[in-house]
Structure formats: structure tokens, C-alpha cells
Subunit: 349 residues, 2 copies
């Protein structure tokens, strides 16, 4: 019998945002890897690629021409997962097992830059500020549509994350329902706020700043940290210091500070394995259902798949799918490793 050592012993941690546990196996990073290696694109990309459907002036799948845009550019996804058609539907409540509801929505693509060869960490801060303003406009415009109650802004970066085009871009899926993961978060935030009259993440951030162990970057308005309950090896979350619900609540200082922390975090990511670091990221913020949401606290998740190197990722498979998410390195260790990365991009050295 020995006393519990969170840095050594297998344990479970609780995620109060979605009310789920994660299994942490601190010792397991040592096992040898004989499995699949990812291929990484190493050739330098051109600034403009005539075959890229996202580059300025080029033709997209639907035959339309992109404008010769100079900063960011937004268009409707040609193969959207949802449609805008209004659908007549009468719910059959007898159906215990076959419960289905039509879902109305809009999908858009956001090109981050006219430059085919740039990614967030390589862009200038004012270029990133410009993306933030684009996100603000989209959140407002889409949120103002009567049937849109949720606007999901996200980015899939890297082929390992299903991204089919290296041209820097993200997506926005706006829809009538709160998606599953957001609904879980909403419920947790709400019940915490109702009880404490403060946002859950405001109090969580205080606890994290006090501990310091999982902080990766802190500036005047935002903090990037590895959550205590992180699932992915180098998962991070960017939180606003001030408690507010949505990207449109940013002051102009906050816009700059957010652009800076985005750049700094993604530089650290790239430097970690000297590669263009793949991830899916996404912003979680208040629903656009017209109600006040004092419980909401703006935050952005980064879920990167890599575990040991530019080519070896963490597979969330059998046990993780059937049982629960499992990680092979502690969040504290990951935070320490990320903190130590230089703030200068490896390519510019």
C-alpha cells in the first residue's frame, strides 16, 4: 500500500464542463511504438497555388470565382452538413427508439489569409485580429437569423485532422439546436452560476492561476492552459480573464490580446515537434437564442492529436470509444513542456 501520487499513479480526473471522467496513466508514455506513423507534408508551399479552390481569384467546386480578397474571406460551404430549408415536421411521441428531428443550419468557410502558405503562428498579429473581427461579424450575422441558436466556429488543421487543403481556413456551422457537447457545457455552466453567481470558468481560472502548474501562457486578458481534465496529450484551452459570454463582447484590447495569445500558443505548438502542428480548435460561447446567458464564459479548445513526435499520434480507439478517454502523460507535464517552447517560430530561426 502506498499513498496516492498524482504524478505517478494511474487515476481518473473529472471534467466539470461536461461531467465526464478521463483515465490518466502517467507511466504509460514510456511504451515503445510500432504502430502507424502519420505522413507529414514537408515541401514548402507556394504563396499562391493556381489549383487551390481557396486562393484569391480561383474557381471553386460549384463554378464560382473567389474574389481577389486581401485579408479574410467567407463563403457558404458547397457541401454543407445542414441546409437552410424550412421543414414541416410533426413529432411522433410514440417513437421511443426512432427519435429524429429535422435540423436547419448554415455552414461557412472562413479563409484566414490570401496567402496559401501561411498558418496562424506565421501570420502577423494584425492579420489574426482581422480573423477575429470576421468571427465577430459571422457570430452576429448568423446569430441574428431567427432560427439560428448556436454558432460553432472551428478549425481543422492538418491532413491528420481531415483537413483537405493547407490553405489556412476554418469553418462555421450555425444551427437551430445546441449541439450535444455544447448542451452539456451549457448545463454545467448554468447550474454552477445559479448556485454561485459567478461563472464556473472564472472560478476555475482563479484556481489554475493560483496553482500555476498547468498554465502555458498568460497575458493581460487571456490565459492558455492545459485543463486539469485534458483528454488529448497537448490539449489546451484559452480562457478570458474577464467573465463574458461571447466574442462580440471583446474590448479592442481584448481583440489584440486574443490575437497575440493565439499566435503565441500556435508557435509553441509548431515548435514542440518542429512541424506544422495539427489540431482541431473551436470556440465555445453563448448560444444565440436571444436569451441572456450570464453563466457563459468565452473559451477556445485546442485538441491536437500528436503524442510523441510529428508522426506519432494518440489513438482514441477501442477502450476510449467503449470505455472512456485515456491519456498517457499528465496535463502538468504537458503544460511544462509547452511552457518551455520558444516564442519564436522554428522556421524563422
Amino acid at each position: 500500500m502506498k499513498n496516492f501520487d498524482i504524478n505517478e499513479d494511474p487515476h481518473r480526473r473529472f471534467n466539470p464542463l461536461i461531467n465526464e471522467w478521463v483515465l490518466v496513466s502517467p507511466h504509460r508514455a514510456k511504451r515503445p511504438w510500432q504502430g502507424q506513423n502519420e505522413t507529414i507534408a514537408t515541401e514548402a508551399l507556394p504563396k499562391y497555388d493556381p489549383t487551390c479552390y481557396l486562393c484569391p481569384g480561383n474557381v471553386r467546386a460549384n463554378g464560382m470565382n473567389n474574389p481577389k480578397y486581401e485579408s479574410s474571406f467567407v463563403f457558404e460551404n458547397d457541401f454543407a452538413a445542414m441546409k437552410q430549408d424550412e421543414i414541416i415536421f410533426e413529432e411522433d411521441i410514440k417513437h421511443t427508439f426512432f427519435k429524429a428531428k429535422p435540423e436547419q443550419g448554415i455552414s461557412r468557410v472562413v479563409c484566414f489569409s490570401p496567402r496559401h502558405d501561411l498558418t496562424l503562428p506565421e501570420m502577423e498579429v494584425d492579420g489574426i485580429e482581422n480573423i477575429i473581427r470576421t468571427w465577430q461579424k459571422e457570430y452576429t450575422d448568423l446569430g441574428n437569423i431567427k432560427y439560428i441558436n448556436h454558432v460553432q466556429i472551428f478549425e481543422n488543421k492538418g491532413s491528420v485532422m481531415g483537413c483537405s487543403n493547407p490553405h489556412p481556413h476554418g469553418q462555421i456551422w450555425a444551427q437551430s439546436s445546441l449541439p450535444t457537447q455544447v448542451e452539456k457545457t451549457q448545463n454545467s455552466l448554468k447550474s454552477y452560476f445559479d448556485k454561485n453567481n459567478r461563472t464556473l470558468l472564472e472560478d476555475y481560472l482563479q484556481a489554475e492561476l493560483k496553482s500555476g502548474e498547468r498554465i502555458v501562457i498568460e497575458n493581460d486578458h487571456f490565459v492558455a492552459l492545459v485543463p486539469f481534465w485534458a483528454i488529448w496529450p497537448y490539449e489546451t484551452m484559452i480562457l478570458s480573464k474577464r467573465a463574458f459570454g461571447k466574442i462580440t463582447d471583446f474590448t479592442s484590447e481584448e481583440t489584440t490580446a486574443f490575437a497575440k495569445i493565439l499566435k503565441q500558443l500556435t508557435i509553441k505548438y509548431d515548435n514542440l515537434f518542429s512541424t506544422s502542428f495539427p489540431y482541431s480548435s473551436g470556440i465555445h460561447q453563448a448560444p444565440t437564442d436571444g436569451l441572456k446567458h450570464p453563466e457563459w464564459h468565452f473559451h477556445m479548445h485546442f485538441y491536437p492529436p500528436l503524442l510523441r513526435s510529428a508522426t506519432v499520434k494518440k489513438f482514441m480507439v477501442g477502450y476510449e470509444m467503449m470505455g472512456e478517454s485515456q491519456r498517457d502523460i499528465t496535463p502538468e507535464k504537458s503544460a511544462e513542456i509547452l511552457r518551455q517552447q520558444s516564442d519564436v517560430h522554428y522556421k524563422s530561426l
Copy 2:
């Protein structure tokens, strides 16, 4: 305005096993694919590979020798995610945000066959029956250990599912807590049983058999179907017709029938894209906490990643991670396609 057509219009479906929704986009399978292709192993494997740490007689990472086993073979995982050490732990209830608990457990590897080159669909029915008896023994032995309350039997097949060795094998992770996904299922099964005095899956299966639309294979004792709420393109679930909670409840006819449906389903999977079809599979059954679990209904999940071909998978990334699972083909269509596959393995044609 048009009437809702579940075969055409984007919609959400509800999964009553885990109380989550999935977004279904029937029209979206048509989009062109320019993203990552998986590499597939096509060289024929030898019956015995002297470098394989799972083949009979060979040496494992820890220096131990495998016996010259002739059917299946079980050993403790050398790089287990959990450990058997008893850990002293006092819960600090003041920790709202940093909630962690030690977790005790055992991980085992189950070699399905001494033959390096076989997979489930290529094995004889009696060889598969033998695996089932091994699972039964492990469920009993592990379940009898005082601190083990859950035994997760699963298989990761194919390098795309993180499997590092083609030698046919699965794993068992047994532990003191109910893993997250199982706890969700347990809660749903329990509340349904308490209300109806029948298992949720017994009634679901009746509804599915009546509809017929999503049935892939039916024999005297088991049914393989694409669940109404399936997430993965060709996800299936094998359900027992009789309501019982665990693999040790099988009659000898049920053992044979389960072996047969496993073989038939995996043959159809291989035939779908003429490839050794990757998936993660896992058995969900009653906890081993010593309590009666009349609410439990034995079932097995198959989560295969492929979408369009042997090399193009469905990426569960940005929207799926931040929002909710999304699928590009209806479960009804997938079931139809699987049903149409031959019951003779393509390699033996």
C-alpha cells in the same frame, strides 16, 4: 416549405443508450474527397512471423517467451494503462475543480489464433467459439477479483485504429470504476428497466425487427444491425435476442450462434471495400460489482472508420469534437449496403 423526409433532409437522431444526439446529413456523401488517404497493408502475411511478439514461442518486450499456444493465448499487457497496486487515498472534497481518484486495474492481451495471418472473418467458427470461451473465462476470473467492477473486452483492428501488430488479438481492460460510456449506458438501461420491467434493448430489438430497415444479419440467437443512432458510417451492433446481461450467460447454442454472426459480419465488412476492414469493437455487458443487473442486455459495438473506400475514412474532428457527431450517409442506406455484401470472403473467391 416541404415535409420532413428522413432519407433526404439533414436531421438529428437521439441515442437512448447514452442520451446523446447525432447529426445526420444524408446528402453529404456526394462531396468530392481531396483529403488524406489511409495506406493499406496489401502484402500477404506469413502464417508465422519470427519478429512478431504475439506469435507462439516468440519473445515479448519484457523478455518473456510466449508458449507454443495452439488456440488462443492471454497475457498481461506489458504497458498497462492501469496498475494493480492498492493506493491509499483520502478524497479532498473542497477540490471542486481538481477532482482526481486513483484507479486500480488490469490490462490483458488476448491472441485470437496462433496464425499470424488470420483475422476473425478468415477463422473457422470453432476457432471463434474458442475466443468466446476465453472471453468468458476472463470475464469470470477478472470479475471475481474483489476490486474489479468492470471488464472491458475490445479489439482495435487495423493500423488506422492504432493497432500496431496485425497478429489477430484483442484486449481486456478490467478496473474498479465503471468507465464513462458504460456508466451512461448503465443509467439508461436502469431507468428503462425500472419503468418497463423489460430491458431497453429487448424492446429496441423488437422495434428494429419489425421495421427490418436496419437489420444486417439475423440468426436464431443474435441480430447484427446498424443502430438508428449510429455515428460511424458502417457502425453496427450485435444484440442477443434473449435478454441476459453477460457473456457467461450464453447457452452452448448461443456461443455457436455468436461465433457465426461475428464471422458473417466481419466477412461482410471485409467484402465492402475488398480490404481487411479496420474497426474498434467492444462488448458491453453487466458490471462485475456483485449486484444483480436485470437491466443489462448483452451487446457488442463495431465502430469502423471507413467511409467511401479502403483508404478514405470519416474524420470525427472539429465540429464533431466541439459540437456533436455527424454522419454523411443514413444508417438505413449503410444497412442496405452491408446486407447486400456476400457471405463468402472476397479472398476465397
